[in-house]
Amino acid sequence: MAVKQGKAGVCSDYRVKLSCAFMGLGQLFCRQFIKGALLMLFEIGFILFLIFQGVENIIGLFTLGTTEGVPIMGIEGDNSVSMLAWGITTLFFIAFFALAYHANIKDVIFTVREIQKGNRVRTFRESLSTLLNQKFYVLTLTVPLVFVCVFNVMPIVFTALVAFTDYGGEIVPPRLVSWTGLQSFKVIFTMSEYIGTMGKILAWNILWGFGSTFLVYFGGLGLALLYNARCLKWKRFWRVFPMLAYAIPSFITLTGFCFMFCDSGPIVGQLKALEWVGETFTIISYDSKWSLRLLGFFCCAWIGIPSVMFLATGILSNASKDMYEAARLDGANGFQQFWYLTLPFVLFATTPVIISTFINQFNNFSIFYFLRPETVYAPGYFNANSSDLLINWMYNLTVENGLYSLGSALSLILFAFMAVFSLVAYVTSPAYKKEDTYR
């Protein structure tokens, strides 16, 4: 009956009201002394933080500093960038506190209900043991969640906010940064050097994304089928070779290939010695376009194919043998077996792999970063090269040239595009919908 009293009955209890007013008060009146005291200490700590630091941080987030520093005269002004960072951190603290407050109210409602039902109130020890059992997930998820919030979510929020300021170029601390709204986006979409460069890079980036995903995925699948062939002996031995490519760190592979294909390297040297190409032939130089792009595809295949191959090998070993036996009896040839049995099965099993391969390739920073060591920009491009992907361009804008707000705005545009694409692809994939099928 007590449960059916409904929310109103519980909520009007004085202990619930007390906990709404101050964390832990209600728990104290429920005779949960340790828990109540801990919660009250928590709120007091938070209030102290707000008074001594928090309010200032929040104001700083809005003003981004008021006194400009002049280092020569020894005047220490406000550092807008760190103010932005601390402002965001404070917002995170407040959000976390709100969650804790909510949990505190829910907890006291639960306890009051138990009391009204006539049950004994939980001791502190019992509360802890609940944490080990029904609420085990709270225990395991808290630390990673905090980590991810600090080192993944916060930087993203920071970057997103920087897109709406004028941070970058001349305006870096000690000069004051200020909010400028959509100014950066306007610059990107209206200034011809930006929009022109973006069009060219985006077209190449899309071609690269689909091309390299296709290459890596089907290359890996083909290789897995090849190494699975029944007539092949010593399979374990042959698999060591792609394993080599898989294991070598990509910065070594790419720098190695760069040395191999550069002007003083053996490939160009040999081709010249054989007089197959002219004296001016280069593969990697500041204005080479398609030669470097093709080299990119080659390196990407060399690095990426083995990992897909091993994945596909594992999946193929799960495929049912009966299926193939039946197909053979019905007279299907090797190609038909591949097309109607192997491919659909592997495609189903690896949808998430295709998505993640596409995302990784679309944002493959390292390929062209390592293959083109000099930072001379190509004609017709603004701070970029003909082989650069969007992510390389963003790197050039921000890290190399310090145009932070423009780079951030660009990354927001790219991010919106990628997020919608992969979320739709992921949510509509059968693997996500039928998550529990194998239980």
């Binding site: 960072a85 007539c231 042959w238 040395f259 003083s264 998430p352 921000t398 194998y438």
Partner: protein, 279 residues
């Protein structure tokens, strides 16, 4: 019954071997080239005769370990090993815990957590870099190897989907039985789940080790002093006149992972597939 010689099958076998040989050559050649270049008597890339050195010697290796004022390779190597080993332990622990939790428990924000992870994963890594640099400066973790360890551990915690896919395959009846016998959830995890998921843990630990071991972006941004560099940053600072130093230095980075991968290839293939199929 002895198999009859069939031309079609023989042709197919020959084709398969030809292809396998070709593929093996493509994968092996750059590695052989790099290894032999490390034994080049001269350091410069231009001194190669065609693809391979004219005279072989161990001079490069002596320089690699003794000329520490120019390239402090032993130090870089130690730094890399430290970062990779510590982050491997922390990340493995975190990833397994998160994946198990998400797979085993049904709680309110579960699906939205998974979607959020996916979205966070899309955000280009280095775009956070300016922000990360600011945050790390505020936390006084620039030039500090522990800063890198923190970043790797938190980054890998988001890659739990493969492991979650694996845990999904453990039948829930096992858990129910254990719970009926009065085991706490923590007990169940330690004494039932962990032993069952040995291949997955090996897979997780291996991938968690290799990322920091081979990463270039984060250390190149956060480690400014030459003495705190990792091997990746150090080797990348060499130009083509020091090519054999690069080749020799790379060997010590690549060989341990290759040995690990080849030795654990069984786990690697099983682990990756187990997660992917039911992800």
């Amino acid at each position: 019954m002895k198999a009859k010689f069939r031309p079609a099958r023989a042709f197919k076998t020959a084709l398969v071997y030809l292809l396998v040989l070709l593929v093996s050559f493509i994968f092996a050649f750059p590695c052989i080239w790099l290894v032999l270049s490390a034994f080049n008597a001269e350091g410069d890339l231009l001194t190669l005769d065609g693809f391979f050195p004219e005279t072989y010697s161990l001079e490069t290796f002596r320089r690699l370990f003794t000329e520490t004022n120019k390239y402090d390779y032993p130090r870089w190597f130690g730094n890399t090993l430290f970062v990779a080993a510590v982050s491997c332990v922390i990340s493995t622990f975190l990833v397994i815990a998160v994946a198990y939790t998400i797979s085993r428990y049904r709680f309110k924000s579960r699906k939205s957590l998974m979607k959020a992870t996916l979205i966070l994963g899309i955000f280009p890594n280095f775009m956070n870099m300016t922000a990360l640099y600011v945050i790390m400066t505020q936390l006084h973790l620039i030039n500090n190897l522990w800063g890198l360890i923190l970043l790797y551990s938190s980054g890998s915690a988001m890659g739990f989907l493969v492991q979650k896919g694996f845990f999904d395959t453990i039948p829930s009846t096992i858990y129910d039985a254990a719970t009926l016998d009065g085991a706490s959830d923590f007990r169940v995890f330690i004494s039932i789940t962990l032993p069952l998921s040995k291949p997955m843990i090996v897979y997780t630990a291996l991938t968690a080790f290799v990322w920091p071991w081979a990463d270039f972006m984060l250390p190149s941004m956060l480690l400014v002093d030459k003495s705190s560099w990792t091997v990746a940053v150090g080797l990348n600072s060499l130009d083509d006149s020091e090519f054999s130093i690069f080749a020799a230095g790379s060997m010590f980075v690549a060989v341990p992972i290759i040995v690990l991968y080849v030795a654990l290839s069984k786990y690697l293939i099983e682990g990756g597939a187990a997660g992917a199929v039911k992800e």
